[in-house]
């Protein structure tokens, strides 16, 4: 009897992904760059372009953080301070705070140097610290910076008593910053700054990629694998760690400068620990030590909160992701279709049951009006779709208790499901699990979108990390063999 073929079954989607990965990195880079650059051409909605700008901003920071954490293996919890130092330096150099108005190119180069030096200054004494201890020291540095930003509005120099300098503007920050201007062209719209940030992101990606493909990148990776062996093989580990640290801080600084110019102001809360945590989440989500991952993670975590702000868009994205996920992650793919159809059937059954035995529990469809609209066409389609879905699902008049219970049951259920061995039982249990997911979405989101937004983002993160524990694009590292 003939033995089964050794190649795994590949369908259209897998083959498309393979063809994508087979393209040289340069080609993939330019395709994605072109796609990103076309965003302002496809929509004139400033809100969307601002989100895209934010994605570029955070992607650059995530890539820089990746160099420090992923390549050099240094857990820097004060990274956000370099971002802030860059932003505040720009603010001081380009505003009425001190009446200094440097040209943009000079500011950015100076900020780069400031970032480099501050990274070097923080890095030098702390590099003899290992792991967790370095984390604490850098965290301290980050907190010190936040505090200084708040309190350096009343600086008294010892040799000029009585003269009080307002360095950082305290809680009020510094406002009315000069916009960026290059070769006489002043950037003043969201689109301009989006392109500036995109260009900067592209530059950073190229620089980091080239560093990666050099003796320095190899040394960084070797250090990450076994620092002792690397040192013994002639790689100056201390110097290399410092280099990674300084590179990351310099990039963060310049990014901060561009951010300050875009926002036309700087405030202490722009550089809080919250932002740092989000940044780390972006990097880990994408996959540590993976450039593409950092960008992807930044994309997901910069876009998700915005999407969830608009219930219409959120609904469409949710269902699209659900269907897509079912079809993508089930093997064979027709099982995913089977689950989908069964869920619809189960839903209809439950609805009919409740209608028959407890009709007064049900409520008519409820619709949220979007505070910010991405597109009226999308809104209308989403609302129509919403009416159908809410007619199919068991929509309760008193959704809070049942919705909360369902949410509490859903997370462990999904966890347990992910741990099961693939097979008939897992397939069968996926059906009520998916129904539960949709039920929770419709009941909770309809009730309190603002509150559940963060809950859903948290749920998204947990789920993604369960299914891809090394990040979306990360690879499992083999430790001991």
């Amino acid at each position: 009897m003939a033995s089964p073929p050794l190649t795994t079954r590949r369908d259209a989607l897998t083959r498309a992904l393979e063809r994508w990965n087979a393209l040289p990195a340069t080609a993939r880079f330019f395709i994605l760059l072109a796609a990103a650059a076309s965003v302002p051409l496809l929509t004139s909605n400033d809100y969307v372009i601002r989100i895209a700008g934010n994605v570029c901003l955070f992607a650059t920071l995530a890539v820089a953080l990746n160099v420090v954490v992923g390549y050099a293996g240094l857990l820097d919890l004060g990274f956000i301070a370099f971002y802030g130092i860059g932003a505040y330096t720009y603010a001081i150099l380009s505003s009425d705070q001190f009446g200094i108005h440097w040209p943009s190119w000079a500011s950015l180069i100076f900020i780069g140097l400031v970032g480099l030096v501050s990274g070097f200054l923080l890095g030098s004494p702390s590099l003899r610290l290992l792991g967790d201890y370095l984390a604490i020291v850098t965290l301290g540095f980050g907190l010190v910076f936040a505090q200084l930003a708040l309190t350096l509005d009343r600086v008294e120099l010892p040799w000029h008593p009585g003269v009080i300098i307002n360095l950082t503007g305290g809680t009020n920050g510094i406002v009315r910053l000069d916009p960026l201007s290059f070769f006489g062209f002043q950037l003043h719209t969201v689109t301009h700054y989006f392109y500036a940030l995109l260009v900067w992101l592209a530059l950073v990606l190229i620089i980091v990629h080239r560093l990666n493909q050099s003796r320095i990148g190899r040394a960084w990776r070797s250090m990450g694998e076994d620092a002792l062996a690397a040192e013994t093989m002639g790689m100056p580990t201390r110097r290399l760690k410092l280099l990674a640290f300084s590179c990351g801080s310099a990039i963060a600084g310049i990014t901060g400068g561009i951010f300050a110019a875009w926002q036309q102001s700087v405030f202490p809360q722009n550089f809080s620990t919250d932002v740092l945590i989000t940044l780390y989440a972006m990097m880990v989500l994408g996959g540590i030590s993976n450039l593409g991952g950092a960008v992807l993670g930044a994309g997901v975590l910069a876009i998700a909160p915005e999407l969830l702000r608009s219930p219409e868009l959120a609904r469409l994205i949710f269902y699209a992701a659900l269907v897509f996920g079912l079809l993508l992650f089930t093997r064979p793919r027709r099982n995913g279709l089977l689950v989908l159809v069964s869920v619809i059937g189960l839903g209809a059954l439950l609805r009919l049951g409740v209608q028959a035995f407890a009709p007064d529990w049900l409520s008519p469809p409820t619709l949220e009006v979007a505070a910010v609209s991405v597109s009226t066409a999308i809104d209308r389609f989403s609302q129509q779709f919403g009416i159908y879905v809410q007619g199919w699902i068991v929509l309760l008049k008193e959704p809070l208790l049942v919705g909360n219970l369902a949410f509490a049951v859903m997370i462990p259920a999904l966890l347990a499901l992910s741990r099961m061995k693939p097979g008939r039982i897992k397939l069968l249990l996926t059906i009520p699990a998916v129904y539960l997911l949709v039920f929770v979405w419709e009941t909770r989101l309809a009730a309190e979108p603002a509150v559940t937004r963060l809950l859903l983002i948290g749920g998204l993160l947990v789920t993604l990390m369960i299914f891809r524990p090394n990040g979306l694009l990360g690879r499992r590292k083999v430790e001991i063999v």
Binding site: R215, A219, R221, E225, D226, L228, A230, T232, G234, V478
Partner: protein, 259 residues
């Protein structure tokens, strides 16, 4: 010509004296083996030479210049490379990358050259690549075709060879091999013995070896030094050392002295 001088070295960890007034020298082109029972301090000697530990007393000189106070990567730069008793390869990198990474101390590309991909940088990358292929080529058939495989997927004997290739890529004057034949079957042991000989003849390296397998030691060493509890108990040709009373006593115990 004396390449390495290890003079009056003592080392203790807390209350435990690991090396006691130990001296020896290695001449250029020699293959010297250090033998001794487990815990004698052999790997500690390697760690002292490569700068991972600092001696409490004594001096270590390479080509007349002291190695004390230097960082391990500087000592490697001076021309000493080692392999580890329990392999310390960069597991998630390919064979080629492992060896290329060790070419670091002999390369000079700086940040600017790397970022702008100057012709100087590209020439150096090509040179590093060629160097890695040359060193890996030393092992001939055994590693051929596996250059782009990730190291963790290689069989044990091949991983040992990659580690030796990696040490060679630092272009040292002297190789310190820590138990290269450990865990090998008789065939592989024979290959390793041959290999070490070729390292001297074709590669021109001076070799300091730690080994338990007396077959290998006997076949390949010019000189053997026996260590026990951190002290030198014998030195000389293999035949002399292997039949030395104190050496036999160290390995087998007092009651088993061969008359």
């Amino acid at each position: 010509m004396t390449l390495l001088e290890f003079t009056n070295i003592s080392k203790s960890f807390g209350g435990l004296q690991v090396i006691r007034n130990f001296s020896f020298a290695v001449n250029a082109g020699e293959i010297v083996s250090i033998i001794g029972p487990n815990g004698a301090g052999k790997t500690t000697v390697f760690n002292l030479i490569t700068g991972l530990y600092t001696p409490d007393q004594g001096d270590i000189r390479l080509e007349g210049k002291s190695l004390l106070g230097l960082e391990p990567h500087q000592i490697c730069g001076r021309g000493i490379a080692r392999t580890f008793q329990l392999l310390r390869l960069f597991l998630n990198m390919s064979v080629r990358e492992n060896v290329m990474s060790a070419a670091y101390p002999r390369t000079h590309s700086n940040l600017a050259q790397i970022i702008f991909r100057t012709p100087g940088f590209q020439r150096e990358e090509a040179r590093i690549r060629a160097l890695a292929e040359e060193k890996l080529g030393f092992f001939g058939e055994r590693l051929a075709g596996a250059f782009d495989q990730l190291v963790y997927s290689l069989p044990y004997a091949n991983r040992r060879q990659v580690e030796i290739a990696r040490a060679m890529a630092t272009e040292p004057k002297m190789l310190l091999l820590d138990e290269p034949a450990a865990g090998m079957n008789p065939n592989e042991t024979q290959e390793i013995t041959q290999l070490i000989g070729e390292l001297r003849t074709r590669g021109g390296y001076t070799i300091l070896l730690i080994e338990h397998d007396m077959q290998v030691v006997g076949d390949i060493s010019d000189r053997v030094i026996a260590l026990d509890y951190g002290e030198k108990i014998a030195e000389g040709k293999y035949q002399e050392v292997a039949t030395n009373e104190r050496v036999i006593e160290a390995y087998l115990g007092r009651k088993h002295r061969i008359q």
